[in-house]
């Protein structure tokens, strides 16, 4: 009987996502090299995950020789980590990320990794990706957007012994946009909740967010179907309306009267505010009509009153087109 060595995976980041991915892969029998900016956080995750997880001293150590690289860091730190990885990466390696935001200039996470490394076989994890499901042994559902089939094959191999249900799509940009703009829509829904609007209005804003993501997607070459699939609607239905996620919380706080600058300073690592600002800039440049994104940007960055900004969005003709 022959035994095959399990593939080695580099997990970069030991936050909620990095921790969950590490635990999941370790349970599936993969060898994981875990790196985190704070070594003690990595050690803690490794200890909890158990066998098969080693803590790497540097990004390069984690990535060298790994079959797959999982970038589990917020978008604001992605470039630095990718640059360090780029010192040792090779063209046959696969990279995944789960960032839900953009960099200044509306640079998508895959574009950041692409510009700092030789990696081309890139995938974005999107859709519900509800980590609590994984923690409770329930199926973890995610969309995997990638242009190369190699990425899907690698994900299939790694998750063969798990309850991960990865839905592949070649629309990498579409999956990234769904994730990024859903955070903006979450802020809008939080604002609505904060100013006392009901669930119908909150739901309307979330759907509007999806439609605007689709518009941006069309301008960037994404497919409309992605926004109606697991990465878009599939993310919206299971949890967004009643979400307690941090972008929603930020919106709620501002809706309830906290100054936007103060609230954003308290939630500095959130990806939604920067995404709103950059999406608005891009939309203006491309002549797109993005009233929801514009309203969130106005509230967060230009001092607009939440109630008035939302009222303007909700009373517009919101005919949606995907």
């Amino acid at each position: 009987m022959t035994t095959t060595t399990p593939p080695r995976v580099a997990v970069l980041g030991a936050g909620k996502l990095g921790g969950a991915v590490t635990a999941l892969l370790a349970r599936a029998g993969a060898r994981v090299s875990l790196w985190a900016r704070r070594p003690e956080a990595a050690k803690q995750v490794a200890k909890e995950a158990g066998k098969g997880v080693e803590v790497a001293a540097s990004v390069a150590d984690a990535c060298r020789g790994a079959r797959l690289l999982c970038f589990a860091v917020p978008v604001e730190g992605l470039r630095e980590v990718a640059r360090a990885a780029g010192e040792v990466t090779t063209g046959d390696q696969i990279a995944l990320h789960a960032c839900r935001g953009v960099e200044t200039g509306f640079v998508l996470p895959s574009e950041i990794i692409r510009s700092e490394t030789c990696l081309k076989k890139l995938g974005a994890l999107g859709g519900p990706l509800y980590l609590d499901d994984a923690a409770h042994g329930r199926p973890l559902v995610a969309a995997v957007g990638a242009r190369f089939d190699d990425v899907f094959r690698a994900v299939r191999v790694l998750t063969a012994n798990t309850r991960v249900r990865a839905h592949p799509t070649h629309d990498l940009i579409g999956v990234e946009l769904c994730g990024a703009i859903s955070n903006v829509a979450q802020i809008a829904a939080g604002l609505a909740e904060g100013v006392g609007l009901g669930e119908t209005d909150q739901g309307t804003l979330l759907v509007r967010g999806l439609a605007e993501a689709a518009q941006l997607g069309a301008a960037r070459g994404a497919e409309a179907a992605t926004f109606l699939g697991i990465a878009g609607v599939g993310d919206l239905i299971p949890r967004q309306v009643t979400s307690t996620r941090r972008n929603r919380h930020l919106g709620r706080e501002i809706g309830q009267g906290m100054a936007a600058a103060h609230a954003m300073a308290a939630h500095a690592a959130l990806e939604g505010p920067v995404t709103a600002r950059e999406a608005r800039t891009l939309g203006d440049r491309m002549g797109l009509k993005l009233p929801l994104i514009q309203a969130v940007d106005d509230v967060l960055w230009r001092g607009a009153a939440p109630a008035e900004a939302l009222e303007r969005v909700l009373t517009l003709d919101l005919s949606l087109s995907f």
């Binding site: 780029g86 090779t90 046959d92 490394t117 030789c118 242009r147």
Partner: protein, 545 residues
């Protein structure tokens, strides 16, 4: 292709295509498709070989009806070998050597070879032949091109605006001291026996775009792959066909370009060490005037946007027109720029001056690992298609960067902008058809608009975003307009831009649109309120929307 390689390559070609088709269980289907497509094509065909061809396909069809599996395979071999022979053609090194040894006069002769009668009259009077020496400017990464040729096989991918391109490229390669490259030339270019003779012996092989049979396309692709594997430098025109709208190519047909990756992978698998690398070399050709401009833009604007892929009755098929065009163009001290761009590897990575692949940060990488499957090089169609798409993106960037903007482009673009502003609210298609309130614009305004464009373009040029011709680079707007008008006045029946006193108008707005489009995609109209008529989907324009 050299005679000593021909039989071996054709035999390998046949066995690869047949084996692959058999493995996919598609032998009968492939034959049936071939018979159907070819018989259908031949219904409309008026060539001398029609009867022989029809006879061949009738024979294949009849054989199929009673054939065993073994016999079907033999029929497939027969069809593939026929296609292979037709594509491969003949190359006689002796003819090539004699043509290139004679140098410029012979290449001038080649240009006139479209007319055997003319050859006779010109042969004895070299003064009449167009002189290229002073007119073709070779620039860009020429030393690197020579260096990489020593290290690997080159795939030259030029922009394509005119049928004169292949001849201009041939001239440029000869001038650079490089041996012939193989390239696929449309069957229409071979229809003239004399021109066909020269083209074949300068490295051209035949591409019959009328053939819709998937098997033919498969054979063509495999032929290209094999020539690359055997170290033959190739030229592909990734635009597929001449740019109809006059714009720098943005949408490329990547079919033949995609041959680079399987060829490279096969060489890696075979452990080939001698010149196993491939380098893709973008090249741009920039003319002040385009021989077939009227036909091309007319085709672009044809009703319902059904542009013809193959044009056989354009200016290129009229010898006098070709001759007049060249002599008039060259008489104006006009320059044809042939710019060699920065090479890339077959995976789309930049390469350094030693030919080593680089990542986006400029670090050296082993690009062969992109072609690994389970730790070793392997062909993967989906991966290769995606990498080739990236190559296409790098090429379109290179084309935009290396295109040389000349006075005709600037003069046309500025005039069209002013006409659009003067006719605000008028449908663009109507404007092109001569409609609108204002027919002409003041020369003074044209100078101002050209000045604005020059400011933008010179800024872009400093950031390596575009190249400019000598006048556009450092002379003032008045000189640019004067040179543009001078060029427009010498060739086209109705000039794209003409001056009447202190005003300018267009004698042919379609032509104006054609030359103007060379500046599309450089975002020169930001803030002017004018939206590009070519985006987001120029088909809408062609449909008259």
């Amino acid at each position: 292709m050299r005679a000593r390689d021909r039989e071996r390559v054709l035999s390998e070609l046949t066995s690869r295509v047949v084996e692959e088709t058999a493995k996919a269980g598609r032998v009968e289907e492939a034959l049936a498709d071939a018979v159907y497509h070819e018989q259908r094509r031949l219904k409309e065909d008026r060539s001398k070989t029609r009867d022989e061809e029809l006879g061949f396909w009738r024979d294949v069809r009849d054989e199929m009806r009673r054939a065993s599996e073994r016999a079907l395979l033999d029929q497939l071999k027969r069809v593939v070998a026929r296609y292979g022979n037709e594509i491969c053609g003949q190359f006689d090194e002796r003819v090539y050597n004699s043509v290139t040894r004679a140098g410029e006069p012979m290449l001038g002769l080649l240009l006139n070879a479209v007319s055997p009668k003319r050859i006779m009259s010109e042969l004895f009077d070299e003064r009449h032949l167009p002189r290229f020496d002073d007119s073709v400017v070779l620039q860009g990464e020429i030393p690197l091109l020579h260096k990489l040729r020593e290290r690997g096989t080159l795939i030259l991918v030029p922009t394509h605006v005119s049928n004169l391109d292949s001849i201009a490229v041939g001239y440029a390669l000869w001038k650079l001291g490089l041996p012939p490259f193989l390239y696929g030339a449309g069957l229409n270019l071979f229809s003239n026996q004399m021109l066909g003779f020269f083209m074949r012996n300068l490295g051209a092989y035949t591409v019959d775009r009328r053939k819709q049979d998937p098997l033919y396309k498969r054979v063509l692709k495999e032929y290209c792959t094999l020539t690359l594997e055997n170290g033959y430098d190739n030229i592909f025109f990734p635009g597929g066909t001449r740019s109809r709208a006059g714009a720098v190519e943005k949408k490329l047909k990547l079919g033949l370009l995609g041959c680079g990756l399987p060829a490279y992978t096969h060489n890696l698998q075979a452990g080939k060490r001698d010149k196993e690398r491939f380098y893709i070399i973008p090249a741009t050709l920039s003319f002040q005037l385009v021989l077939e401009a009227e036909t091309l833009i007319d085709d672009f604007l044809k009703e319902q946007g059904k542009a013809r892929y193959i044009i056989t009755d354009d200016e290129f098929s009229r010898p006098k027109r070709v001759f007049d065009f060249l002599t008039q163009l060259l008489s104006l001290d006009s320059k044809i720029f042939f710019t060699i761009g920065r090479p890339i590897d077959p995976c789309g990575n930049a390469v350094d001056d030693e030919g080593e692949s680089l990542d986006p940060c400029g670090r050296r990488i082993d690009a062969t690992r992109e072609l690994w499957v389970d730790g070793k090089p392997a062909v993967d169609e989906q991966r290769d298609a995606e990498l080739t798409r990236e190559v296409g993106e790098r090429l379109t960037e290179a084309y935009a960067r290396d295109t040389v903007i000349q006075c005709t482009h600037l003069t046309a673009h500025a005039t069209l902008n002013l006409l659009r502003k003067a006719n605000a609210g008028v449908d663009f298609v109507r404007l092109l058809r001569g409609g609108g309130r204002a027919d002409d614009v003041p020369l003074r305004e044209l100078h101002a608009e050209v000045r604005r464009l020059l400011d933008e373009l010179r800024g872009l040029n400093k950031r390596d975003g575009v190249r400019l011709g000598p006048i556009a680079l450092d002379r003032d707007a008045e000189d640019v307009v004067a040179d543009g008008l001078r060029h427009f006045s010498i060739y086209h029946a109705q000039p794209a831009v003409q001056r009447k006193g202190d005003r300018v108008s267009s004698g042919d707005r379609s032509l104006l649109f054609y030359y103007s489009n060379r500046l599309e995609g450089y975002r020169l109209e930001r803030g002017s309120g004018l939206r590009s008529p070519l985006t987001p989907d120029h088909r809408a324009l062609a449909k008259g929307a």
